[in-house]
Structure formats: structure tokens, C-alpha cells
């Protein structure tokens, strides 16, 4: 069905637009301003053009952090999307189990991000943590995320999957619950297998929610800061120094606003570009098989 053409609809969007742009435009302009200047102190700045951008684009530590970030976000999406969908499929459809499941599954989402890091420090310490001590003493596998880069990665991934899979599951569940019963009846009459029902009915019908889930997970995992920073501080070495951790090192700890600004803009453009590509692709995928 076509939407009604009416430019007056802008008046309905206006309040949202104003309140968002209030916080969006001035900080963005200021950061652009930083990125083209060398700032010595208040009121002392020299215009340097694209120098910071060239310097940042050539910074090998930034490249390392970027590849690490791609690997991290890629793994996050590969693990969390299927796992979240599986959990959504397994959750009960009616009865007392529904509210219990919804409340339990939402718990990790409601914990402030730095607290998440703290929980996982306590949980994975080899001497006093349930997971750390369990691995070392019970299973006899040496495990220390402050010492070994692989252990650090495993810990960060476990934390991330534990923290955010519920978001995918909740959104996926919403999509599943919205499928009218008649579709399932039709599938049963056709003698479709569970797999075929999933592939041709449930998955296409969940496309809307899964698009949002995918984009949110991509953006937020690409921008992740507080949880790994609290947990590993970017170490051991630089093995878990993700893009935003490196950004904070440059921008705030060395107080270099010029390179920091340029870095932020490059970062922003990468997230924007990939989100746009994913959005376009997900809009197209499954259009043909819409029931």
C-alpha cells in the first residue's frame, strides 16, 4: 500500500528533529573544527588543514586497532545473531514462562557498562572468580586474561555475548510473536519441515526486527569502550585495544584534540559507511521471498 504524500508530515517530525539536532550539530561542528587545527591551549590554535587526517590514516597502531575491531565486530555478529534467533525460537509462546523469560533475559542489558566490566573482573579472576578458578582448578586449564592474549579475547567475547545476545533474542522474539497463526497452519497443510517453516516463513517475517538488531549490534560493538576497558584495559600488550580504547589514549590521555578529532571523524565515517551498506543489503535480502 502506498503512503499518503503529504509534506505537512514534516511538522510531526519537527520536535524529534529539533531535539536530536540540538545535541548533534554543535558537537559535530566542534569536532570538525578540532580536526583541522593544532591546538596548543585556549585560544591558541593554528589551521593545519588535512595534516591530522593524513597522520591518522598512516598510523599503524590505528590500523592494528581497526583490524582488531573488524575481527571483534565480525565475531560478535556471527555468534550473537544465530544464537539470539535460536533463543527466540526456544522461548515459550504463552503461559507463566513468558514474563519469567522476558525478565531474566533482560537482566544483563540493564547493568551499566562499567559495572559489566567489574562483574567480569570478579567472575574471571583466576584466584577468586567462579569462571577463572573453575577453569584453573577444576578443569586444570591455565586461564588468566591479564596474562595471555587468547584468554583475554575469550573473556571479552564471552562477556560481549553474555551481555548483548539478549537484545537480539528479545527483538527476534518480538518478530516471531507477530507472525499470524494462519501462516503456520498453511505450512502444516503443505507438510513443510521445521527447517522449511523457519527458512520461508519465520526468517522473512523477522527481517524487520533482525535488521534493527543487526544494525544496533554492529554499531554498538564497533563503538564498544567501557566494558573491555574496565576488564582488560586494552591488554595484555595491545591485544584487546579496540578502536575506541586507542582513540581515548590519543585524544584524552595525551590531550591531543587535533588528531583525536580527525580520528573520531574517520571512525564515524567507517561506522556510517558499513551501517549504510548493511541497511541497504538487509532491505533487499528477502524481499523476493516475502510471503
Amino acid at each position: 500500500m502506498e503512503k499518503w504524500p503529504n509534506n505537512k508530515a514534516w511538522f510531526l517530525v519537527l520536535p524529534a528533529f529539533v531535539i536530536v539536532i540540538f545535541s548533534a550539530i554543535i558537537p559535530l561542528m566542534t569536532v570538525i573544527n578540532y580536526s583541522v587545527q593544532d591546538i596548543f591551549g585556549p585560544g591558541q590554535a593554528v589551521f593545519v588543514g588535512t595534516e591530522w587526517f593524513r597522520e591518522m590514516l598512516g598510523d599503524y597502531r590505528l590500523h592494528d586497532a581497526l583490524w582488531r575491531q573488524f575481527l571483534f565486530s565480525g565475531l560478535v555478529l556471527l555468534i550473537e545473531m544465530p544464537l539470539g534467533i535460536l533463543i527466540a525460537l526456544a522461548m515459550p509462546k504463552k503461559g507463566w514462562g513468558v514474563p519469567v523469560c522476558l525478565v531474566t533475559i533482560a537482566l544483563p542489558l540493564l547493568i551499566p557498562w562499567n559495572t559489566i566490566g567489574t562483574i567480569w573482573i570478579i567472575f574471571t579472576r583466576p584466584d577468586i572468580g567462579l569462571f577463572g578458578a573453575g577453569m584453573n582448578n577444576l578443569l586444570g586449564i591455565p586461564f588468566d586474561h591479564t596474562d595471555n592474549w587468547l584468554d583475554a579475547w575469550i573473556t571479552v567475547m564471552l562477556m560481549e555475548v553474555w551481555h548483548w545476545t539478549p537484545l537480539v533474542a528479545l527483538l527476534g522474539y518480538a518478530g516471531l510473536r507477530a507472525i499470524p497463526e494462519v501462516y503456520y497452519q498453511a505450512a502444516r497443510i503443505d507438510g513443510a519441515s521445521a527447517w522449511a517453516t523457519f527458512l520461508y516463513i519465520q526468517l522473512p517475517k523477522m527481517r524487520g526486527v533482525l535488521t534493527i538488531a543487526f544494525l544496533l549490534r554492529f554499531m554498538d560493538s564497533f563503538l564498544i569502550y567501557a566494558e573491555p576497558f574496565v576488564l582488560t584495559g586494552g591488554g595484555p600488550g595491545n591485544s584487546t585495544t579496540f578502536l575506541s580504547i586507542y582513540l581515548v589514549k590519543i585524544a584524552l590521555l595525551q590531550f591531543d584534540l587535533g588528531p583525536g578529532g580527525a580520528f573520531s571523524l574517520i571512525y564515524f565515517v567507517i561506522v556510517l559507511l558499513f551501517s549504510f551498506i548493511f541497511y541497504q543489503a538487509l532491505q533487499r535480502v528477502g524481499k523476493g521471498e516475502k510471503v
Binding site: 514534516w10 545535541s23 525478565v103 526486527v209
Partner: protein, 267 residues
């Protein structure tokens, strides 16, 4: 048989999910010396000392109050402006609608670290620093877009014949929107409110940048304690457990709405 396998899988998942939270709970019931001294699966000498400290020290418990105030403000503002906007996106075609819709989401994509400084300058200039309203307003940057996206999905699920009939019956737009349309997607509004509440509650960087003492949220108070006294695991764990409580209460009270909302929405 198949249903049973599903249930077993789900139960295993929930056990794994609860493990870190259980561990934090046991830590919060032990003294710091006890925690560091030995590894035990459940606390033997239960103490409520950590909780007592938080409930009696105003620099601690005000953190929860402050966070609650701006989170509620933010959720209200976000819903108030996102409802009409989402209606416009779901019903009308207008100049720049698709671009506008995607642009909204781009506001979630900037790395917060460097952007926090201009935020500080902006809110100092307009005299809002260290107020709850400043944090509520700043969090609109990422919550309004999310609310618009989620609500648009719910609204698109409502047939447009309902709007047409109401307008033919002589309803004005505001009256139709408030008395007919919003009740129809009430559950969807509940789900959206949950997501706004959640993202505002867990955000740290902007909240910390925009507050000094008067409106400091609990998450920022916790980081300050880490740097000041070294890690007091027991106290941190107790504070962490208490950060879960408000959100858990919110979902418990809206659980039926949420179940219904999740049942109707394409989100």
C-alpha cells in the same frame, strides 16, 4: 520430544546467563578481606555491611536517585517527540523522509570519547551543567532515533483504514492520535519505553561528562571509587547488584505489557 530439547537448551542458557550475576551477588554479601582470602562457592559468613554503607552514605545512594531522575525524564521526552515522528514516517510520504529516517540513526554512530568535550562546552554555555535535565537531553541523541525506529515498526502494523475511518468520522488529528491510535499500540509504547530506559540507564560517558556532584549517577560514582581506594570488590559488587534492581522492577511491573507488545509488534 522436540519441545523438551528446546526447554533444556533454554534452561542451560539461563543458568549460564545467571552465573556472573550469581557470583556478584555472593561477593556483595562478603567482606572484602573475606573475598580476597579464599574461594568459596557460596558465602559462609554473610554480611550486609556493603549494602549498609551504600544505604547510609548519601554520596552513594544519591547516585541511584540521580540516575533514576534523568532516566525517567529522558524516557518521557523521547516518547513524547518520537510518537508523532514515528507516525509521520509510518503513514506519510514527504520530501526527504527516507534520508531523514536513516539520518536519525546516524546519531548513534559517533564515538563518544572526543564528542564528550564539545558536549561539556555546549551544556556549560547554556547553563545546564550538572543538572538532570542536561543528561536527559543529551541522551535524547541516541534514544529518540531508537524510539522512532521501534515505534515506526509497531505503527506500520496498524491498518490505515483505522485512521481513514476516524478522520471521516470527524476526529481531529490530535484527538484521534491520543484517544484512538496510541491506545492501539500501547504495548508497543511499553516496549519502546523499556529500550529508552535501558539505554539511558547504562550510558556512562555523557552522564559522567555532564555532571559534577548534583546529578552524578551511580555508574560514575562507582568508577570514582575504583581509582580512590583500590578495588573494594564487596562494595562494588553490592553497588552493581543494586544497579540491576530498578530496571528489574520496571520490567517486572510492565511484564504483561511487554509480553503483549512483543506479541504484536514487528518492532
Amino acid at each position: 520430544m522436540k519441545g523438551k530439547k528446546k526447554t533444556i537448551g533454554l534452561v542451560i542458557y539461563f543458568i549460564l546467563l545467571m552465573m556472573p550475576i550469581y557470583w556478584m551477588l555472593t561477593m556483595s554479601l562478603r567482606s572484602n578481606a573475606d573475598i580476597l582470602a579464599s574461594f568459596v562457592l557460596y558465602p559462609k559468613n554473610i554480611t550486609f555491611m556493603n549494602y549498609m554503607k551504600i544505604f547510609t552514605d548519601s554520596s552513594w545512594y544519591m547516585g541511584y536517585v540521580n540516575a533514576m531522575i534523568y532516566v525517567v525524564m529522558n524516557t518521557a521526552i523521547s516518547l513524547f517527540v518520537a510518537l508523532p515522528a514515528a507516525y509521520a514516517f509510518s503513514r506519510y510520504q514527504f520530501v526527504g523522509d527516507k534520508q531523514m529516517f536513516f539520518w536519525l540513526l546516524t546519531n548513534r554512530m559517533a564515538p563518544a570519547a572526543v564528542f564528550a568535550l564539545p558536549f561539556f562546552q555546549l551544556y556549560s554555555t547554556i547553563g545546564l551543567m550538572d543538572t538532570h535535565f542536561a543528561v536527559a537531553l543529551a541522551h535524547c541523541l541516541f534514544n529518540v532515533p531508537l524510539a522512532v525506529w521501534i515505534l515506526e515498526g509497531f505503527m506500520s502494523g496498524v491498518p490505515r483504514e483505522i485512521d481513514e475511518t476516524a478522520f471521516i468520522d470527524g476526529y481531529s488529528f490530535p484527538r484521534f492520535f491520543i484517544t484512538i491510535f496510541i491506545p492501539l499500540i500501547r504495548a508497543g509504547v511499553g516496549v519502546t519505553a523499556f529500550f529508552c530506559f535501558m539505554f539511558s540507564w547504562v550510558e556512562l560517558l555523557l552522564a559522567r561528562t555532564l555532571t559534577v556532584t548534583e546529578a552524578k549517577p551511580i555508574s560514575a560514582i562507582m568508577t570514582r571509587t575504583i581509582s580512590a581506594t583500590g578495588l573494594d570488590f564487596g562494595l562494588l559488587a553490592a553497588a552493581g547488584i543494586l544497579t540491576i534492581v530498578p530496571g528489574a522492577l520496571v520490567i517486572w511491573f510492565v511484564r504483561n505489557h511487554m509480553a503483549k507488545g512483543f506479541a504484536m509488534g514487528r518492532v
